[in-house]
């Protein structure tokens, strides 16, 4: 049985948005194919003749797609311009980088916001950052109402999941004055724009950060602060990544 939405029909704008989205996606796929071999043909034009039933309720013109057995449908024709190899190269965004996060991957983001972002061509976090740098008001461009604060947090969380921290070792050294605890690994300190991170607690004692890079983090402390029994070391690398380990004397 047809869904409520299918029975209610769609507006021409919503249909055209989805049609252009389909063709944009086809263009992205062709751009990726074009990286490995030159495309011989490109789409010069595309036309659709649709069998539809229009319905005007006094405010909005909506269409329903003709269903099997229904007769007397109106014919609506659409003609869309071309996608050429040259256009693909010139106008299509570069294929997504490995470290980029697609909007689809951002968990907990309202599906309506995802769809509206995709329809205005924002399909990845780097697109979103580009728009932000260009000072584009996405809501005015047709996106759903967006809470940028929570969106940024959701994006950072998704990004962090993609580049999860890995610890490969921990060592203690002495520079003559203080004891240096170094944690090494991958994707450790990544919040250079947040000076309050990383932060660490050895037991209940906050540690001073000496240096922090993605490959290692060094903390310094007085020798007297070294625990004489197994003690929990908790390191907040950024708001989305916390490492917990036991330091055993």
């Amino acid at each position: 049985m047809a869904s409520e939405a299918a029975r209610k029909g769609w507006t021409l704008k919503s249909f055209l948005d989805s049609l252009t989205l389909e063709l944009d996606r086809a263009q992205e796929t062709l751009a990726i194919k074009g990286l490995t071999r030159r495309l011989t043909y490109s789409v010069r034009d595309l036309a659709l003749d649709l069998q539809l039933f229009p319905d005007f309720d006094g405010e909005e013109l909506r269409f329903t797609t003709a269903k099997p057995g229904e007769t007397g449908a109106a014919r609506v024709s659409l003609q869309l311009g071309s996608i050429t190899d040259r256009q693909i190269r010139e106008t299509t965004r570069e294929p997504r980088r490995k470290d980029d996060v697609s909007i689809e991957e951002v968990e907990d983001l309202d599906p309506k916001v995802k769809t509206s972002l995709e329809k205005i061509g924002v399909t990845s976090v780097s697109d979103l950052e580009r728009m932000e740098n260009a000072n584009v008001d996405l809501e005015k461009a047709g996106a759903e109402k967006i809470d940028y604060g929570s969106l940024a947090a959701l994006i950072q969380r998704s990004k962090r999941r993609k580049t999860a921290p890995k610890v490969s070792g921990a060592s203690l050294s002495d520079d003559g004055e203080r004891v240096i605890l170094t944690i090494s690994g991958e994707n450790l300190a990544q919040a250079q724009s947040m000076p309050e991170f990383p932060r660490a607690l050895l037991g209940d004692t906050p540690l001073t950060v000496r240096s922090a890079t993605p490959a290692s983090i060094a903390f310094e402390m007085d020798a007297s602060a070294l625990p004489d029994k197994p003690t929990a070391l908790r390191i907040a690398l950024d708001p989305h990544a916390v490492l917990s380990m036991n330091l055993v004397p």
């Binding site: 249909f15 389909e22 043909y41 490109s42 789409v43 769809t115």
Partner: protein, 101 residues
């Protein structure tokens, strides 16, 4: 989808779950054509037009169309009630030959 009786409800649900492939995949498959003949003196295909009946399956999110499913006819045997066939025309042009815009 036509209205169906109570005994057809289960079948109706199954049919509702059947989705056509996305239009983007159909278009990409159409463009994926290799040029025949390497010798520039040979005749070769400069333009290709697909003009075919298609079934359409709008995917909804709320009351807006989020994606478009499309497929060449899934049924070619004539029955009393046939699927509705819309029409899709796609013209492919050889790259570099008065391509598109």
């Amino acid at each position: 989808m036509p209205e169906i009786g109570q005994e057809g409800a289960a079948v109706g649900r199954e049919l509702d779950e059947f989705r056509l492939p996305l239009l983007r995949d159909v278009v990409v498959a159409m463009v994926d054509v290799d040029r025949v003949g390497d010798d520039l003196m040979e005749f070769h295909v400069e333009e290709l037009t697909f003009d075919l009946p298609v079934e359409l399956d709008p995917w909804y999110e709320g009351d807006v169309v989020s994606s478009l499913g499309a497929s060449p006819p899934t049924q070619i045997v004539a029955t009393t009630v046939m699927p509705v066939f819309h029409r899709l025309r796609v013209t492919l042009a050889e790259e570099g030959i008065d391509g598109g815009l």
